[in-house]
Each structure stands twice: as C-alpha cells, then as structure tokens.
C-alpha cells in the first residue's frame, strides 16, 4: 500500500507546479492507496499527516514529492520511523530545486512533476526494508590546523573527556590571529586573548600537539578513520630544546620571516616568534648553509641543550580517529599579479594589511612603532585601499573578503593612536559592518579618530618625490581624488589556505568555487563537510572574523562530542550484496572496488563466489556496473529500481 505526498512548500512549489493536479494523477497510479497535497510537509502538521495516513490506510511505503533529498531525506526517514515504518521505505522526488524553481510554465512543470512521481512510485515498489548495522566509534578526534579555530575546537572537545590530536603545519600554533595587533570590535590585544589558550593546549593532558606536521593519508570512514600524520624533520629535538634562541642569534644564514609577513628577515634556524607554542627552534634546510654544500655547524656547536640533530628524519605517525575537524584557516591573496597599476609590488611603501598588523604590533619588527619600509620614516598621511582582489571580477575574485572593512577601520583607529597628528584615508565601496557593535565601531573611526572615508575605488598608485600618489574617485562628491600618501595599505583578499584543496581531497570533502572547504548546507548543516564525521571550523570554510570563527569552532566541537559520546555509530545499509546463485566468480567486481570490500567466498558445494564485506563497503555501486551477470547489486540502487525509474520517466 503506497502513500504519495505532494508538498506545496508554501508557494515555492505550488506557484509553478499544480500540486493538486499532481496528487490527483498520483492517486491513479498503480498501488497508490493515498495521495494528498500538503502545504509544508516537513513541518510538524505535515509529518503528522503522513503518520495519520500510514495508520488509517495501512501504508507500507511512502513517496514524498518536495524539495531535494539532500535537504530533507533524513527528516522524512525519521518521520517514517516514528510512524512505525522502516525508514528506507521512503522515496523523495525533487520537484522544487529541479522543477518548480527552474521552470516558468505551469503546464510543463506539472507534467514533469507527474513524470517524476510516477518514476518514484515505480521505484519504491521494488524497495525492501533495510537495516543499518552498528559499529564502535574510536574515542579520539583529530583537529587539523592550529589557528584560533583549531585551538578552540581542540579545547572544547577535550573538555568533554575526548582525547584530541592537534596537527599544525607550521612550527607554532596561533595561526593568523597570532600576527594581529589589536582586534575589532573590542580592540583588545590579540596575544592577550590567544597566548593563554595556546599555552593551555600545550599543557592539556588530553591534547596531543604535533607541529611541523601534516596529514599524509586518510583511510576508513566515520567512527574509524586511520590517518597517517607526517612530522617534518626540523633537525631540532623538541624534547631537548629550551627555546633559548642562541642558535638563531648566531646562525649566519638569512631566511624569510613568515611570521612578520616578509617585513624583515629571520634565520635558517629560528623560533617562529617569541610567544610560539611550542617554544622550540626549527631548522629550514633550504636556507641552511650546511645543507647547501657549506661547512657550517654553528647551531649544533653552540646549542647548550644539545638539541640540534642534522640527521633527524621525517616521521610518519598513524592513529585512529572517530572524527576530524578541519580548521586550516585562510591564506593571503597575492595582489601583485592582477594589479599592475598598483606597482606590482615594486614600491616598498605599498604594503598589505597583514604586514601593517605587524608594523602596529608591539612584538613586530619595529617594536610597535609605525615606520614605513622604504626609509624608516614615520608616516603622516596613510591611505587604506579596500577590496584589493575582492569584489573584482576582472581579477577573477567576485567574493567579499568579509573582514577587510572592519580591520581597515581598526587600523585607521590604531594609526591615530600611534601617531596623533596622522591622517588616514579609507577608500571603500560599501562599508560592511554587519556584526554586533560593528557599525558603532566604524562610526568611531570616522568621528572620534577622524579617518576620512572616500567612497570609490582606487585606479592607480605611483611614486612622486618619495611619496605615493593614490588616484581614486570620490563617487559621492562625483570627482576624481588624488592623495599624496606616505604609506599605502592594501586590504588584500582572503584566499583558501595553501594546500586546502589537497587536504580536502584526502578527507574526501568538497571545496567551493572560491577554494574554501564546502559545508553541506549553510543553514541545515553549517559545520558538516560532505564526508560523514568531518567537520569545519573557522576561516577554512570561508572568510570570517574571530567572533564567527570561535562560534563555529564551538559548534564543530559540539558535533564531534555528539558523535563520539554515543560510543557506537549506525552504519548505512546502502551496501552491495551478492546473489551467489548468479555469481560466476569472475571477480571483476573486486578489481574495481575502490575500498577492497569484496572477498572470495567458498560455498558448501565448492564454488567460489564474491562476498561483500559490509563494514568496508561504502555503497558506490561501481561493482554493480562491472558485474557481467548482474549478480552483485547495491541496496537502494538495484538494477531493477533504476530500470523501473527509466521506463517510467520515458513513458
């Protein structure tokens, strides 16, 4: 006995699809005992109506024509369970995203909806009740990335008693926030907030910290991921090093200072920054003289702790985890290629906002005094340029960086605090200040700190007598603008972290077209990634500020705790099964299975057939398509079901 429910979704569907007519057509289809159109099927009354129909008409299988199954399949499976049916005896028909929203003609859309319902009715007749199994979940979580997002998630998960491994690519945790001076909207000092948390990570019993480390390989699935972590050789024994920095002082080989955004130089062996956690040195072989044919062994000779070990090799650590949090943050857009009119990086006094944070910071290369790079002079006229490499289709970057407006306003305020007789100019297109107290913050920059806001984009920057001429437009005044500035600060856009795509592939999760990791649904599953058991926290999912990052990290932690505190997980019953009487033992299926889920089975009569190891099968159905006699078939997607669909849509 079949029940069909046609959702109106308010007017989302009913405006284009005649839901009444679809219900009427459904009522006439073979096996259908009940058909009705419901205003909001996923709502409480909607689900109740399904339950009532199941009881009254003794329905045993249900078709729901509504939104995409990617949206509400899980919701309706639960509804069936509550109504006493096997949750897999339900088939969803997508008449919203793939019908009402993409067609204008009611007749056509309705006809298509009827086709789709007919196909689902035919398909569900071939459904059989399915039962998922249970597996134990490993009570340990992996957090990848040690910025504020990863730190917060690790602390929150471990607070529930679940052990955490925190893997950080660079020599220290802290991420981008550690590089900031003061932070909007409260203007509290970044290190004052962050440093205690970094130390807490180091000291926590339940948190295992691995720096200079990256995920090498991921196998298994939710509840039991087997993950290889590569710890890169730093030539320094972490246990012995005391962070005294004697090696760094004496090392003769210069190397770029990543922490200070290239504003100054560091050494081949160095501690990332004075507040680094862990506070140990690491050696970068590509800059070290010894590793480039030289004779130097100064650091080893001078190290009072005997911590330097040139022979140290990469180490690969394997662990099992029940869940993973990706918190790899963001990277900085390289504007020099797409903005030739800003000098291609040739003018030393055109810097990025990230560099400016280091000039403002007391722990920065100038000790917190604002000094421009070219001649060390204190700037008086400072021009800020928003949206560099953001909201710019000509640079292939239409997206908004979402934090540029706010940190630019912040930097104007801090400039005034550092240099009272300075003047800041902010070129902007729209001031995006949507958070709590943000608008007030921007107003303060304008009124109390006297920043001049100029609504318009900059077209060119060029040097003149030791200054930089910024040519822009004041669209509100309707005229061109020229500023002779001592320093120009570019709010360069945020990109996905370098290597984010590669990590996403290993984790089997998706990235969106801007390269950031994709959540399953912005409202329904905002911290869940495409693969079960993988969650997203912070700027790796999209540009965001610290408050939003911290909130999302907490949410991701809650999801991990929720998942792992149950102890065991339900497995999907959508796996393949072999019909031994048909199997010819050719093992084509085994050749194609990506997960090694097919084994040999010797039957009582001595025949060798294929057998699916259910705990390994992920339900891709690739074996189905390979099997010549059609002996292996995927539950929920059997040949019979797909053929039934085919025939019905073409009727």
């Amino acid at each position: 006995m079949l029940g069909v429910f046609i959702c109106q979704c308010g007017t989302n569907i009913s405006a284009t699809v005649d839901t009444g007519a679809v219900a009427a057509a459904a009522a006439g289809m073979r096996g259908v005992a009940h058909a009705e159109s419901i205003q909001y099927t996923c709502s409480d009354p909607g689900q109740a109506a399904i339950g009532a129909a199941v009881r009254e008409k003794r329905l045993d299988r249900i078709v729901i024509a509504a939104c995409s199954p990617r949206m509400h399949e899980a919701t309706f499976r639960r509804a069936l369970e509550r109504a006493g049916l096997n949750p897999y005896m339900m088939e969803m028909v997508n008449i919203r995203e793939q019908c009402s929203w993409i067609h204008a003609d009611t007749g056509e859309a309705t006809m298509k909806a009827v086709d789709l319902v007919r196909k689902a009715v035919a398909r569900i007749r071939a459904h059989v009740p399915l039962q998922g199994g249970k597996t134990a979940a490993v009570r340990r979580a992996l957090v990848i990335g040690g910025g504020i997002a990863g730190i917060r998630a690790a602390l929150d998960i471990s607070a529930a008693g679940i052990p955490v491994t925190l893997v950080e690519k660079s020599p220290s945790i802290g991420g981008n926030m550690a590089r900031l001076d003061k932070t909007f909207p409260t203007l509290d000092c970044s290190s004052c907030i962050l440093t205690p948390l970094m130390v807490e990570i180091k000291q926590h019993d339940h948190i295992e910290l691995m720096t200079n480390a990256e995920v090498d390989d991921v196998r298994g699935l939710v509840g039991d991921f087997q993950i290889d972590i590569r710890r890169r050789s730093t030539c320094v024994d972490e246990e012995k090093c005391t962070g005294c920095m004697i090696c760094q002082e004496k090392c003769p080989a210069p190397a770029p200072d990543d922490f200070n955004a290239g504003l100054c130089q560091s050494k081949a062996i160095s501690v990332a920054f004075p507040q680094a956690v862990p506070l140990v040195a690491s050696l970068r072989k590509q800059y070290c003289r010894r590793f480039n044919g030289g004779k130097c062994r100064l650091c080893q000779k001078l190290c009072p702790a005997g911590a330097v070990d040139y022979g140290q090799e990469d180490e690969v650590v394997s662990r099992s985890f029940g869940a993973v949090v990706a918190a790899t943050g963001y990277g900085h857009y390289d504007w020099t290629g797409s903005y030739p009119t800003f000098g291609k990086g040739l003018y030393p006094d055109v810097i990025t906002s990230a560099q400016y944070e280091r000039l403002l910071s007391a722990s920065g290369p100038t000790g917190g005094l604002i000094r421009r790079p070219s001649d060390g002079a204190e700037p008086r006229q400072v021009a800020f340029v928003s949206c560099v490499g953001s909201r710019d289709e000509s640079a292939g970057r239409p997206q908004c960086c979402s934090v540029g407006c706010m940190y630019t306003a912040k930097q104007a305020i801090l400039t005034k605090e550092h240099i009272p007789d300075s003047q800041s100019y902010i070129f902007y297109i729209d001031m995006r200040a949507g958070g709590k107290n943000y608008e007030e913050f921007v107003r303060r920059a304008q009124t109390r700190y006297g920043a001049i806001f100029i609504r318009g984009r900059v077209g060119r920057i060029f040097p003149r007598r030791g200054k930089l001429v910024v040519m822009g437009t004041d669209t509100l005044a309707g005229d061109q603008v020229e500023i002779e500035a001592d320093l120009v600060v570019l709010a360069a856009g945020l990109t996905a972290a370098p290597g984010a795509g590669e990590l996403a592939r290993k984790l089997n999760i998706a990235c969106d077209e801007t390269g950031f990791m994709a959540e399953e649904h912005p409202k329904l599953r905002p911290v869940e990634a495409a693969a079960a058991g993988v969650f997203l926290a912070g700027a790796c999912q999209g540009p965001k500020d610290i408050p939003a990052t911290v909130a999302q990290a907490g949410a991701a932690a809650a999801k991990v705790i929720g998942l792992l505190s149950r102890g065991e997980l339900e497995t999907s019953p959508m796996v393949s099964a072999v019909n031994p009487s048909r199997c010819a033992g050719c093992f084509k299926c085994r050749d194609v299975c990506p997960f090694g889920a097919i084994d040999k089975d010797r039957l009582a009569d001595g025949l060798v057939t294929a057998r699916v190891i259910e705990s390994l099968c992920r339900g891709c159905g690739i074996c189905n398509a390979a099997c010549p006699p059609g002996a292996i078939s995927l539950n929920g997607y059997t040949d019979k079901q797909l053929l039934a669909e085919l025939v019905e849509v073409l009727r």
Partner: protein, 133 residues
C-alpha cells in the same frame, strides 16, 4: 518553449552533479523542461546497459554526469565511468544512435551555472540532430 519535445535522461552522481543541479535551482536558473534526473550514488554506478536501455525506451538523449576528475567521492568511480562510457559512445553509431545524443561530463556541487548551461546546450544539440534527420 525550449526543450518541450525533447526528453533527456540524466544519471547524476549524488555528491557532485546532483548537488550542482540543486544549486542551479537555488539560483533559479531557468532550464528546458525535458531533463529527467535519476540520482545514482556515483557515476561509476551507471552501467552502459542502462544507457542503451534508455535509448531503447525512447530517450532523445542521455547525459551522465559526475564529479570532476580527482574529486570523486569514492576516489576513482568517475575514472571508471569515463572509460566505460567512452567505449559506449564509440559504439553508438553502430547501433544507429547519433553520438550527439549521448554526453558524459563533470559538474561539481558548486557549479549550478555550469549545470544549467549544460542542460541548455545539450538540449539544443539534440534538437539540431532531430532537425537534421
């Protein structure tokens, strides 16, 4: 009205192309109404016989769409699909089916616009074949 008389069966991978088609819907990108989507877990699930069956049942065109190379949810399913379906495509003329009626392509979950574009051009291409014959 575009695509009125053209019926296309689309086998779409749940993780990429199907989500891409949803994305096109969320962005309200109007498309010809002849496309009938059948959801599969992976383009690797699509048996060439299913495609032939669709033509036998009177489909004007068949489209198989999965994840971009390297992005398969199951690692390598789309490579297998491509190999199989490539062969199939070469066989079609022998069966009296114009090769233009069959298409295998990649669409990611975020490429709504690309999906809409594919439906449009594929529908047009089939109409051209129909008119030509």
């Amino acid at each position: 009205m575009p695509g009125k008389d053209v019926k296309i069966v689309g086998f779409l991978c749940n993780w990429c192309a199907y989500a891409g088609a949803d994305m096109a819907g969320m962005a309200r990108m109007e498309q010809p109404a002849g496309m009938r989507i059948i959801r599969v877990p992976c383009s690797g699930r699509v048996d060439p016989l299913l495609v032939l069956k669709a033509f036998q049942e009177g489909a004007d065109g068949v489209l198989v769409s999965g994840c971009h190379p390297g992005d398969c949810h199951y690692g390598s399913g789309n490579y297998l699909a491509r190999r199989r379906l490539e062969l199939l495509g070469r066989m079609l003329p022998a069966l009296g089916i114009e090769p233009e009626r069959f298409h295998y392509t990649w669409v990611s979950a975020s490429e709504g616009a690309r999906w809409a574009e594919i439906v449009n051009t594929f529908t047009e291409a089939i109409k051209d074949v129909d008119e030509g014959s």
